[in-house]
Symmetry: C2
Subunit: 245 residues, 2 copies
């Protein structure tokens, strides 16, 4: 392989990998503080000239950074149209996890187990210390009490409730990962809801469980909160046929 | 080619988002089972024609999929050079987490806390049930007993030990995430080791702790294993000035 690579490099300086040069340059600039959130990347043309790679390679690297949530690209092509460093990890992580689940890189079972470990950590963390802002989570739970909600509306609020708890924990890596995992199994969760014969009965159970989870957090009972959220999630998967259990 | 692309872009509606069309098409094909691991994507030219987008947009989407670990691209450009679906999530997750930490999208503190929650879950899981294969983890610990190792060699084996435990847990989402988080803080871990005055003393402590973690797992004592791995990681960060504690 070294020989082949060397030969290929000699013929054309590894054109297929030119985009990696751009990615690595931007990562180094980020690590060494030359670039940070809010900063604008040089325009495509300038990056192309500075790094000695084609504009199409620059564009490929920018797409990677955009999908990963590192930059927001402008719509124009003028001299000030350079992409802006945003570092909003949630979308990128969600896209990656969703695609990997779709491609069977991540078994659904492992995604569910990982979501569970995050959820348990989140409610334990919220119960163990005061000062977490649960306003959003309480609002989601209150909104779910409306009996006229369709299953789709209910599930959207339900997902929001769990994301609100993750956000309230204050750990953005956990919140982004949890959001990504939830997005990755979104389709399965909805399909599960469509399969149940008596949705109203399930909704009553879920409402009750959400209230009890908040009560355990408010009471500072980490172990009760952990058990409740565990049973809440495992119970839903069992009821809708998502889990093996 | 850049000229052709420019001309095509000028004529086509919303040219900047054409690459998203390609991503979404591939995701749908994955979800609906028309594509799976080992399958080959159509060549660039064909995707371009079928989807009605420029070849540069196809290439941008393929780069995104490649960095995310979804596909491996060929080096040639012949009719059989289509990318292969691989779904190897580890590299993609590591790249995303590393870039987000570099761009300050993820605070180092939250990365460390998340790594800790994974590590605790991993050893609890390993201790709670028999049948996990710890051969690799034991080999890494044995190799670290060699007193002639440089700090760099020791840390490489140390990282391997923790990844081996993650792999042994059997949850590939946890293993890939843990590997990604570890890669994201790699630079900080090494910088920490360089700052300590008495590396040999730290190495003695780390060796001892690794053996005790394995012993607790072997004894099936989940709570002891959890506490040991917690103190092991927090202790290293404190000793090397990585944590605030």
């Amino acid at each position: 392989m070294p020989d082949n690579d060397a030969a290929a490099s000699a013929a054309a300086p590894a054109p297929a990998r030119a985009w990696r040069v751009v990615l690595e340059k931007i990562e180094t600039d980020l690590l060494e503080g030359r670039l940070g959130p809010g900063d604008r990347l040089p325009p495509e043309r300038e990056l192309s000239t500075t790094l000695g790679v084609g504009r199409s390679s620059v564009r490929e690297a920018l797409r990677v950074l955009e999908v990963m949530g590192l930059i927001r690209t402008g719509t124009g092509s003028g001299p000030t149209s350079g992409a802006i460093i945003t570092a909003t990890p949630r979308g990128g992580l969600a896209a990656l996890l969703r695609l990997q689940v779709a491609a069977h890189g991540f078994p659904l079972e492992d995604v569910v187990a990982t979501r569970l470990l995050f959820e348990e950590w989140i409610v334990r963390t919220l119960a163990a210390a005061d000062g977490h802002d649960l306003t959003e989570a309480r609002a989601a739970v209150a909104a779910m009490d409306d009996p006229s909600l369709t299953p789709g509306e209910f599930l959207a609020l339900d997902a929001q409730f769990h994301l609100d708890l993750a956000d309230a924990s204050g750990n953005v890596v956990v919140a982004a990962s949890m959001g990504g995992l939830r997005a990755a199994i979104e389709g399965y969760v909805r399909a599960g809801a469509e399969k149940v014969a008596d949705w109203d009965a399930i909704a009553v159970t879920l409402r009750h469980e959400h209230h009890r989870i908040l009560e355990a957090i408010d009471a500072g009972d980490a172990e009760a909160a952990r058990t409740l959220v565990h049973d809440h999630i495992v119970g839903y998967y069992a009821a809708t046929g998502l889990s093996r259990g």
